[in-house]
Symmetry: C2
Subunit: 197 residues, 2 copies
């Protein structure tokens, strides 16, 4: 049942009936994709948001030297995309690719419009998602500006409880805006503190 | 005419007639506020977005040591607020105060609903504003993660052409996530380059 997780997710957040869910997703695009598959290239318009039913994606960008910087991770039940590229129909600054073999539900404007036609609460739900996204990225700016490496790490563990074991350490360090050496130091210090408690 | 700038701004972005503008703003709150006035306190729910007709505001937060970090500046024709606090009716993590004596138009949910009743295009316009905001803060994350001090500074000058002369240097350094010493060095280096050209 490739849509089982998406159905559980949608029905958790809205009151969509089984019948309406089936109607909504009759022609929906679902893909099983291999690790390293690229879902969005920098310079393309981002036409989809990707719901992760299984696996792990990341949204990242490159600096002028070609170094990668992770903006967002998206494990199961997360939705990732470049909303402003989609909204303004402009080339994206970002890449999205798969860190693990993944199962992805493709969400586009037509699907959202259809969902809103079926159930008026959907528009509110997507508004909530949008504001959640804003809250999340605002918080990320505050953390990048003023949190210590340890605080950033704790916030990361809180937000993505199992990613420390799933994502490469250099990617996590890149997300946190610290060096892999700092990340390793922070983890050791926290382990020591924890041991003392 | 305290609403002149707001009117020009609104009519630039929407097709609102003079009559409709007058109807919309009949009971609107406009305040002339002194430098250092606090418009939002951390811990309060942010009930308004603030349109700056004159002057300069900033949105900032504090770290655990009480050090200030500027998230956003808002000179004339900018709108600043904490959208997620307003939307979720939750305590804000931010402060907003005036860097200069300012004239502020208070925008709340009622005003936006009224505007959308008067002119359907308004909902689209506010959607555009929201996505512009997302684009802006996403770009800020990329810059904080991967841009050099010089790149951050150039982006700042591009975004806020006259703020270098209006805001204190330590505030600008705080916005850029660099030390005041780095800011001073970057400015000197750029001046040198410019002189050579």
């Amino acid at each position: 049942m490739p849509l089982e997780n998406f159905k559980r997710y949608i029905q958790h957040h809205t009151q969509l009936s089984d019948t309406h869910f089936n109607e909504l997703t009759r022609n929906i695009r679902v893909e099983v994709v291999k690790k390293h598959t690229r879902l969005l290239n920098q310079g393309e318009v981002c036409r989809f948001s990707f719901f992760v039913s299984k696996g792990l994606l990341r949204l990242y960008t490159l600096d002028q030297q070609g170094k990668e910087f992770v903006i967002q991770f998206a494990p199961e039940d997360w939705i990732v995309g470049d909303r402003s590229s989609a909204y303004f129909n402009q080339a994206s600054d970002y890449f999205i690719d798969c860190i693990e073999d993944s199962e992805i539900v493709f969400i586009d404007k037509q699907l959202i419009d259809k969902a809103s036609d079926i159930d008026k609460n959907f528009r509110t739900y997507f508004d909530t998602l949008l504001h959640n996204h804003i809250r999340h990225i605002q918080k990320r700016i505050s953390f990048l500006l003023c949190a210590t490496a340890e605080q950033r790490y704790m916030e990361f563990v809180n937000l993505y409880p199992d990613l420390m074991l799933r994502a490469p350490q250099w990617m996590i360090a890149s997300y946190l805006g610290i060096t892999p050496e700092s990340l390793s130091r922070v983890r050791k210090e926290l382990a020591k503190k924890h041991f003392k408690l």
